[in-house]
């Protein structure tokens, strides 16, 4: 049956109870209503509040124009936090991808006990990111954390690295925690994608004697790209809103060195109570992100 026929096989009937006639709308309504509440409302409300002057000191609800947005553009700390976020994303994402690919290849062929390995490797992803951050704080502790101890074994002497305070090691610490937690995610997706590559293509290439790197570039990569791009999009967006791990490890410190956009926004809104300013940030992010993601998704859906 054609896709057209499949989609059309539930025609509307002029007679019959209300539920039948409007079935497709009725069942969509509750979900859409809730989504509008949580999707549209913040957008509009942020917009309105961002034009006001609600802050820690003043409680001015009159129209302030674009004052908050102007402040936004000149806020160095905000732009720095965006920079930090981009660094995290730009470093973690490729590493997670590369490690995920390697792991996926390791487990691609069947082997006894494979399912157990895979199930065990899934565990880091199942933990709350806060717990994950807390765990690594424990591990990185310079007094009684095992990491420094393990390094000491290799170095031969004590190496008291204060991971979460030393400016040099703070980024690696956060990155290690993040990569540890989310590489299994990429691994699972890539494993599934690699398993679905048409075996006959690979066999033909093997008969032709092509080296694996070529096979990977020419055959495997194009085949897994649709899935891989979705995974990269999801992980990339997740990295852009990094909060829990940073909060648990450094709270954005030392100073504001590891502050991400989410951390900064939280502090502005819930510790500084700069309501209108935070609303301005919130509105911009929601608006820009919705447009960007919808455009991106539309491109990808069309490609699919």
């Amino acid at each position: 049956m054609t896709a057209q026929a499949a989609a059309a096989s539930h025609p509307a009937h002029a007679r019959g109870p209300f539920l039948e006639r409007n079935f497709k709308y009725v069942i969509v309504a509750p979900a859409i209503f809730v989504l509008l509440l949580v999707g549209l409302f913040p957008l509009i409300y942020s917009l309105i509040v961002s034009f006001q002057g609600l802050g820690m000191i003043e409680q001015d609800t009159s129209f302030q124009g674009l004052l908050n947005y102007k402040t936004l553009f000149h806020d160095a700390r905000l732009w720095e936090s965006i920079g930090h976020t981009l660094i995290f994303t730009a470093v973690a994402l490729p590493i997670e991808l590369a490690l995920g690919l390697l792991l996926a290849h390791l487990f691609l062929e069947k082997m006894p006990g494979r399912a157990i390995f895979i199930a065990l490797l899934t565990l880091p992803t199942m933990i709350s990111p806060i717990v994950s951050g807390a765990t690594w704080r424990l591990l990185f502790d310079h007094h009684f954390g095992p990491i420094n101890q393990i390094i000491a074994w290799f170095a031969g002497h004590q190496v008291p690295i204060i991971w979460i305070i030393n400016p040099t090691t703070v980024y690696p610490a956060i990155l290690i925690c993040e990569i540890w937690q989310w590489t299994p995610f990429m691994f699972l997706i890539l494993l599934a994608a690699l398993s679905n590559v048409d075996k006959s293509l690979l066999e033909a290439a093997e008969l032709d004697g092509a080296p694996y790197l070529t096979v990977f570039r020419r055959i495997v990569l194009p085949a897994i790209w649709p899935v891989m791009s979705v995974a990269l999009l999801i992980r990339g967006l997740d990295l852009m809103r990094l909060f829990d791990i940073v909060w648990a490890l450094t709270r954005g410190g030392p100073g504001t060195m590891t502050e991400t956009v989410s951390v900064y926004t939280y502090l502005e809104g819930f510790e500084q109570f700069e309501v209108s300013y935070t609303a301005a940030i919130a509105f911009l992010v929601i608006f820009l992100l919705t447009v960007a993601v919808m455009w991106l998704l539309k491109r990808m859906e069309i490609a699919r």
Partner: protein, 366 residues
Amino acid sequence: MADLKIKDLHKHYGPVHAVRGVDLEIPAQEFAVLVGPSGCGKSTLLRSIAGLEDVDQGTIEIGGRVVNDMRPRDRDIAMVFQNYALYPYLTVYENIAFGLKARKTPKPEIATRVKRAAEMLGITPLLERLPRQLSGGQRQRVAIGRAIVRNARLFLFDEPLSNLDAQLRDEMRGEIKRLHQEIATTMIYVTHDQIEAMTLADRIVLLRDGRIEQQGRPLELFERPASRFVAGFLGSPQMNFLPGRLVNGGGARAVKLADGTILPLPAGRWGQLAAAHDSEIILGLRPEHMSRAQGPSAPPGAIRIGTTVELVQPTGSRSYATLGLGGQPVVAELQAHDVSRPAEKLELQIDLNRASLFDAKTEKAL
């Protein structure tokens, strides 16, 4: 038991005009087969009757009532799908009882009707099994059982045998025919297989590009096709089509083939050709109307011609020889043990009483 009347039905799928003005009347208890090549609109027509598709124009009447706006469940029809559509998580019993349960039929009555349907189809021992434990033929029986049990007034079949292998198909065909004899409900059956159409139908409705090309009793379509399309669709191996001209030779009408061969037509047929003179035509000859010449002379209306054998394909019960005639290959039916070989000469006897003639431009029968 209801009759079906379709008036001027149109259905579009976006730019595609799938059904173009179909008028059809099926009397109650008749077995009608909608047949035609892929894309001819037969499935669309069937699904419209079921109510699974909206129609753009025209009316559908079942038992005298216009059903266009009625939901499928209110039309009192039963349907058997190509892929059986059995619920994998229900037993055979529950599958058959599904519709009755949905209509809140009381349990004892469900039990009686399901058991009766199962007996009719010979699947009583399977009632507690799950669909995945059944063979293809058994699954199809369950699907039919689910349709029977509802005592609907109209049965629809959407290519139910297409997923079965050849042997099973023959067997199930007979079962369906027997079913119709037993419960005598109006049945509309869609298939692309002309053998199913010929063997099952009281009435064949041959569709092409959304229109009815011809309808009638099977033998009628077979022996008096209204167009070249109908003639070529029914019959296996396919009818041979030879382009030629109608000529007059000494007061007699004849067909002159592309390579100059002249085939005089029997006198009895000259009457229908009164209008067409010296026009381009297509001569249609079925393989079974051509054979190796035997006996002293050709019977009246038949003609003998020398040909060369190109290919022989034995099927066990008969042999099909591809020969050269009129400058092109034609297939003729020979006896099973006929020992023709390629490049041999063969004297071919053609029964021109049974030949079909079509206008070359309109492709309609003359």
